[in-house]
């Protein structure tokens, strides 16, 4: 039994002449929050839909919870919040949850209890018996989120979950994602909001024109620390030995090091070489900087 809840091998999807997803090979672990980052038109939603069995891949393969993608039984333990969650808007929030719960095979008291709990969790208990038609965008997203969690899923797919939400709503989603991870649920997060991804994900892949172009870990072991040095007479080979030179101008040198544990060694080496070190300031590399670098100048979709 693989530890991976999602695994794909060279998934590909064409629509006529257009290749939406060129070559997707990823793996997502248990209890991992996995970010799928990319500009619009990069193939993120198509990839997600292929995993959910909504779209059949042109070629390639994959597994979801150990079963081939498209398998119906695996979807019993999968939750999905589509990008623009729409449902029969004449249903009340509670009725909507009841309906979706039944499709998961839940019923009776257990279903009612679960619906109540989720309505509370997404802060919709007051609006539960009003028609969804009257909900704001944020409320609609929240009921959609509740629907995705009905069957205590092992994997949850969220496609731009905070779109249209106010800051409180976004905070709610973040907390929910952290809770899910703590419970052992994996989260597959599609987003173009870097701040959101940075705040929630363990690992991120960058997708461009249907391909994964970069992968990085976030959190404490995040790679890439940028150090700003004010130094005179620093020998280039000393700098090169400790990191990658990014820029050097007007007495300020920017160097990228792998980890902050490299900093004391760098300082010692500079002093030892006779250079005059005035200041050394590490900056944690932002996701935005990585994104812009990876995506490059050409950020046009597709």
């Amino acid at each position: 039994m693989t530890a991976n809840v999602i695994e794909t091998q060279r998934l590909r999807r064409r629509f006529g002449d257009k290749v939406a997803v060129a070559d997707l090979s990823i793996a997502v672990n248990r209890a991992e929050v996995f970010g799928f980052l990319g500009p619009n038109g990069a193939g993120k939603t198509t990839s997600l839909k292929m995993l959910l069995g909504l779209i059949e891949p042109t070629s390639g393969s994959g597994t979801l919870l150990g079963r081939p993608i498209g398998d119906r039984a695996a979807r019993a333990k999968v939750g999905f919040l589509p990008e623009h969650f729409r449902f029969q808007d004449w249903l009340t929030g509670r009725e909507l949850l009841r309906f979706h719960g039944r499709l998961y095979g839940l019923s009776g008291q257990a279903l009612e209890a679960k619906a109540d709990a989720l309505l509370s969790r997404v802060d919709l208990q007051d609006a539960a018996d009003r028609a969804v038609k009257g909900y704001s965008k944020g409320m609609t997203q929240r009921i959609g989120l509740a629907q995705a969690l009905l069957n205590d899923p092992d994997v949850v797919f969220l496609d731009e979950p905070t779109s249209g939400m106010d800051p409180l709503g976004r905070l709610l989603v973040r907390d929910l994602i952290h809770e899910l991870r703590a419970r052992g649920t994996s989260v597959f997060l599609n987003s173009h909001l870097l701040g959101e991804v940075e705040a929630t994900c363990d690992r991120v892949v960058f997708v461009k024109q249907g391909r994964v172009v970069h992968e990085m870990k976030l959190g404490a072991e995040a790679a890439g620390l940028e150090v700003e040095l004010r130094v005179d007479g620093a020998p280039p080979d000393v700098l090169a030995a400790h990191g990658t030179l990014l820029a050097s101008a007007n007495g300020t040198t920017r160097l990228r090091v792998e980890h902050d544990s490299a900093l004391p060694a760098l300082a010692a080496a500079l002093v030892h070489s006779g250079a005059r070190l005035y200041a050394m300031t590490p900056h944690k590399r932002s996701l935005e900087a990585t994104f812009l670098e990876v995506m490059g100048e050409d950020q046009r979709p597709g």
Binding site: F15, K49, L52, G53, L54, I55, E56, R72, A73, A74, R75, A76, V78, F80, P82, H84, F85, R86, F87, Q88, W90, F99, H100, R102, L103, Y104, G105, S107, G144, Q147
Partner: protein, 278 residues
């Protein structure tokens, strides 16, 4: 199985809420009102006519009732096509289908569940309107046509077939295209039916064949002709007395063909829906 019933349940609510249903119900109400008034006047005039034999009177009542049922047939078919025409295509276009199809539910269950629910609503509509016509005939004309046990189920089958076609089309086509297709087929059957009638009366074999082919492409009119045949007294049929008496009785095979036709339509729709990127 439970998923199927859940979908049927939701779709019944969906169908009941549709404005189209309200519109066709109002249409039916208006029709029944006019029909009742018209029936009343004809019956009254006939009862005052000196020397009208009871046979002729009965034939007249039968003709009026069949006319009412023919109108019912038309209203029911309209409802059967229009009510579900956008249920699947609309759900696909709006994205509602995404949360549905990503559940552990078979795509075929979605199609069949919707079909069952809309078929039930169409049959309920038919029962209501035909019941209205028969009630008027009974109360005003003191008349009930023969063969209702055969005729009415055949007419209900027509509704079921058209709902199947409308739903199946929606799985593959956009709403408007679907509507045009199904209506086009109905129109074909309608014209084919009359061409066959004329062909039978005038003895034109080519015209009769046109009618038969039209019935194979869309069996609705053939089913009506069979129903009408049984809902008339034999003397009326033999005399070719009314436009509803056709010379040729569509066979039982045509009924089976209608059943197979509905099944094939659903199968076509299910296959299309299963392959479709949602």
């Amino acid at each position: 199985m439970r998923s199927l019933l859940t979908i049927v349940h939701l779709t019944l609510h969906e169908a009941a809420r549709r404005r189209i249903l309200a519109a066709t119900l109002i249409g039916a109400g208006a029709f029944l009102l006019l029909y009742g008034i018209g029936f009343h006047f004809v019956a009254e005039k006939a009862s005052h006519e000196v020397g009208m034999s009871s046979l002729r009177s009965r034939l007249l009542m039968n003709f009026l009732t069949l006319a009412g049922l023919y109108a019912t047939h038309f209203l029911t078919l309209m409802t059967s096509v229009l009510l579900p025409v956008d249920t699947l295509s609309g759900d696909i276009a709006s994205g509602v289908v995404q949360t549905l199809a990503s559940k552990p539910v078979r795509r075929s269950s979605i199609v069949i569940g919707k079909w069952l629910a809309f078929a039930l609503v169409a049959i309920a509509y038919f029962v209501l309107v035909s019941g209205g016509v028969l009630l008027i005939a009974r109360l005003i004309g003191h008349f009930t046509p023969p063969g209702l046990a055969i005729g009415l189920p055949l007419m209900a089958l027509d509704a079921v077939v058209l709902v199947a076609l409308s739903i199946a089309g929606g799985a593959r086509l956009a709403t408007v295209t679907n509507g045009i297709l199904v209506f086009g087929l109905y129109g074909l059957a309608f014209i084919g039916g009359w061409v066959e009638q004329i062909g039978t009366i005038t003895g034109n074999e080519a015209a009769q064949n046109v009618g038969t082919v039209a019935s194979l492409i869309m069996p609705t009119e053939a089913l009506w002709q069979r129903a009408a045949y049984f809902m008339q007294p034999s003397v009326m049929r033999d005399l070719n007395w009314s436009p509803f008496s056709s010379g040729a009785l569509p066979s039982m095979a045509m009924v089976w063909w209608a059943v197979v036709y509905a099944a094939l339509a659903l199968f076509w729709g299910i296959q299309g829906f299963r392959k479709r990127a949602l």
